[in-house]
Symmetry: D2
Subunit: 345 residues, 4 copies
């Protein structure tokens, strides 16, 4: 069977991980990545021996790459001509511009959460609306928080039916290594409702959602508390039962040492996961509490890597590699190794 | 009219503020404060010229105070003998032991949130159950988060009726200057439900409450998001209307520059408030969102000072200085200067 | 005797403290302060009842102030016409522009560290080169770190002679309440040598200095380690002897509870200092170590307030209120209350 | 040739990395690791499929491991009986107790920096005093800061001669994932001189050293500023020349994007290094400044991994696998892959 050819635009925090994720798929071929400048990420690629071919976007200074002896395989346009689909993780707004090229070359594309919804035909989530993406040309992924949040809400919704959701997002303000943004000894509040609640309603229009987001000065993982109102009474046991069956949800316990977002980062490093990344969201068993018909729980969102699986799901849907959410997500999970370890208790 | 004589046990973060607050009450007399060692707080008292008399608790090394030329006015027992009521802000557990002395000497006492509920006859909140404290001998204050939370919930409840509450507490992990505890680049989650939700139900038994608490590495103010389910539909305008009338709730706007807990701390410093403290909780106008019959909002809890007014209310109740919540809290507010500035917009 | 009339341009972190400091001087009159927008600082001024008159700089939207019922006393130009000297704590670069107005109106001015040295005739430090400022029209203050650093180096230099200095600046990255800058879980290094070392050589040209600056994610006080090479052997006792006599240096001990910059901030709050500010630098006794002819020590720089006394010294020098460093700094210290408390041990 | 058999006691932050490092050595065999409880590290080992055999130390509850289906290969004593040398990274103080067993069984051991110097015959550093360790039975490694510091000082000393050193250690206060220690919005100072300066003099007695240590609330890498006084004038170019030849020193530039300790952590993650670790210290080119005969520079110490190479050097010395520092460190570097990538610019 012919492999689907994939390119990645923007080799930053997300782009690097998309490239690594695609490279693991047995039925896909990573043709190359494109970027603008010899950033630390590109220098690391060079030091690793250029496992991926590098293409330069418009405006790049080829001389700087040559001076550093970083091999260049061609231009962004040349990359686009070689692929079936582009994963666009360019800085916000650039993806919309790139789309003109994709359209000209007849290439499909998946955009990341930083772009406006209008860039795409489908606002996509691998578990919640896979079928909407089947055969689509332009898809936009939900953002990291929304991706993880929807995994958990969709899980309960399919099992028991959910009517209403209220969330509090305790957001990490920067990624490890970020120097262009930060917060020092301060919490910061955003105008409500948070876009994640609004986005959830776009993907799952039968649910009413609202929420408040607070920024905190940490780098390892957002935490979201979710209050979900069921169509029926959902007990703690029922919630655990559903969550435990989900491949991209890892049930953890405070009592075992998973005290917060930093424990999960350390655990992923100790697992030997590349970059200390984790594809699964974690859900704390001791956080689950019932209140009348409502159930409340807390999840951890590994912001750098959580959208990778759903983005790869999007390739599968767009290119009609698998036609259903069950088969599409299962193939992604198989190649990424998701759903094995997190079932070990 | 004879002034009520008050003593303070434990001159730490809370004790210093209790002493300052009592000293401002025109109908109370601060007899003295008691502590164990020449801490920085005691050294600051000395440098300020000993505005309050110092008594030493059992186990204190008098020689250390003499060597530092810190005047000592007597023993803890001698202090207790001189007062009508003690405010006990000793470290957790010590208050229960001190109670034996209070009982022996026939002195009333108000304990802080660190003690067990069983230390007191009444678990007290100035606005929610003032009348229960009237004439009581031993009262325990709600903790800082619970005190501020109940202010807002009681406010809505009296105006419109509240049935259910779900909270997320984004807790500051240390006070400015704390070196005995801290958290670095990590969020930490507690077993749910949080004690604040449970305590709210103890004070307001007609409301069902649950919640999750997450610790964050900051020092200026907890933030709590509250989802309150009304007996009737509560609109944003109705909520603003009620909150704006409450003397101990300060409505603020992100648009005005109140971006988070640190803005409020800076504002209190710029106001010239001693220590940069604020007695009011702040409530962000832009955080208020409706969702069906529910209303959601976020409040800021200035953890070092928020319980001071309610503790002084407790003196008024216990000593029957005022017999109703309206009159008791009004006197406290008058002497503390609460409810003037925060109505300036 | 006629009081010197002073205006303050820019009512931010520094400007507020300059205004408060001038207001305390018995031989000066604070005519007013000028700013552009109804910031939180201006709102706090309003809530306090407008203790200082407010003038608006060019570009200010008078309507916004009127809408908030904030009284306005006139324009920036009108303020300048009423004063003998302006303290300019405008954002960096604006001071240079304001200078044109000062020159036109024949008004002296003192600029803060953010302006270029060329804005002024004299780069000034109250203790190190007071006499250079006597009668000068335009002075620029050293920055906060340099001001505190020079206090300590000048102190040793006058007592024993210093030839060389090497510093490491452990810089707080934001002030409490800052949301426009920050750093999260990261140290950041600047190109060496740090400007503070270069500035020290400008003020004290007989000393050779170098240094490295590292930014840290905290808000309460920079810490500087200083390695000073004496013309003669300087023992720890000799250093303590000299430092203890300096009014703007507060000797502190780790053993007493002064564990770091946050302890000092808490102590200043507990002292009842407005905003929890401290004018003195702190110097840890246990940090002083000898190494051959060199002596090494660590100081704490309260970045928000440390330059206030030296700025007021600059008024005294520029306006020839006192002609010598001894008399000029002594008057400033007297009115600010410096040098009393910090001698209490 | 027979492989040297190695065991690791204590499978925490350091122990895990020692095990991984030994497993990479072609001339060593990792027999197993020993620990007390099913920590997150042990759970990660289980989830990875038990690449290393686990032995239980005295006091371990075997039932807990069985319940979690974690295979156990035997007791600590059984592990010790199977090896030639133990790497002891037990909690501080436990190593000294373990030594009794090592002596009884005639097994050599290398202790980590947390133990007292008296536990060992030789206080060891691979580059500075390798020959002292040759054939020794009990060695103690320098701590992480001292190990990295000595690399740089020894490098300059061998090239040009160093007489004196003054250091400022800007210490990260916790590792990623630590919840048992932390610091929030505070710098903390230690009594001077820092132990690292004292330890440097123990290892390199011909150098006079002093220093001050300040704790900062970050988790990724200590930064040390070093002022080194040469026997001769050392220029910036001379320093770069020497540092660039050292396999375990990575020269980096701020201009390339290495803005601080967090950039280096991110870079190591992007390199694909397990856990995002780096064995080399980094030295910023732009930090190097001359001052008379002195040279000043700043280095980054990756605290979790920096001692691994020198610990493996210690095995080589103790077991007489190589008899000189050049050959011993070269073998370690070869197997760990050190000295290739960091020469790529």
């Amino acid at each position: 069977m012919k492999k689907i050819k994939v390119g990645v635009a923007g080799y930053g925090v997300i782009g690097q991980r998309l490239a690594d994720g695609v490279a693991l798929q047995g039925d896909m071929e990573l043709v190359g990545i494109a970027d603008l400048a010899p950033t630390l990420s590109i220098r690391a690629l060079k030091e690793k021996g250029m496992p991926y071919d590098l293409y330069l976007v418009e405006g790049a200074d080829r001389g700087r790459f040559d001076a550093l002896e970083i091999p260049v395989s061609g231009t962004f346009e040349e990359l686009v001509e070689k692929v079936d689909i582009m994963l666009d993780s360019s800085p916000g707004g650039v993806g919309a511009k790139n789309k003109e090229l994709y359209e000209k070359k007849g290439v499909k594309a998946v955009f990341q959460g930083g772009e406006k919804n209008t860039v795409a035909d489908v606002f996509f989530h691998g578990y919640a609306n896979y079928e909407k993406g089947v055969g689509a040309d332009y898809l936009k992924l939900t953002s990291c928080n929304t991706t993880g949040l929807i995994r958990s809400v969709d899980c309960l919704d399919r099992a028991y039916g959910i009517e209403k959701v209220a969330i509090t997002i305790i957001r990490r303000v920067a990624d490890p290594g970020d120097y262009h943004r930060g917060l020092t000894n301060a919490l910061q509040i955003d105008k409500a409702p948070s876009h994640q609640a609004v986005d959830l309603m776009t993907i799952m229009p039968h649910i009413e959602a609202t929420g408040i987001l607070v920024h905190t000065p940490v780098t390892h993982g957002h935490i979201i508390t979710v209050l979900a109102s069921g169509k029926q009474k959902i007990t703690k046991e029922m919630a655990i039962e559903a969550f435990s069956r989900h491949d991209r949800i890892r049930m953890v316990r405070i009592a075992d040492g998973f005290l917060g977002n930093a424990s999960l980062f350390r655990y992923a490093r100790d697992l030997g996961n590349p970059r200390g990344d984790m594809y699964e969201i974690a859900l704390w068993e001791e956080s689950i509490v019932e209140s009348g018909n409502d159930i409340m729980y807390a999840i951890n969102i590994p912001q750098e890597s959580v959208t990778i699986p759903e983005t790869i799901d999007a390739i599968r849907a767009a290119c009609k590699m698998q036609l259903t959410r069950e088969t599409g997500t299962a193939e992604t999970n198989k190649y990424l190794g998701i759903g094995r370890g997190n079932k070990v208790r």
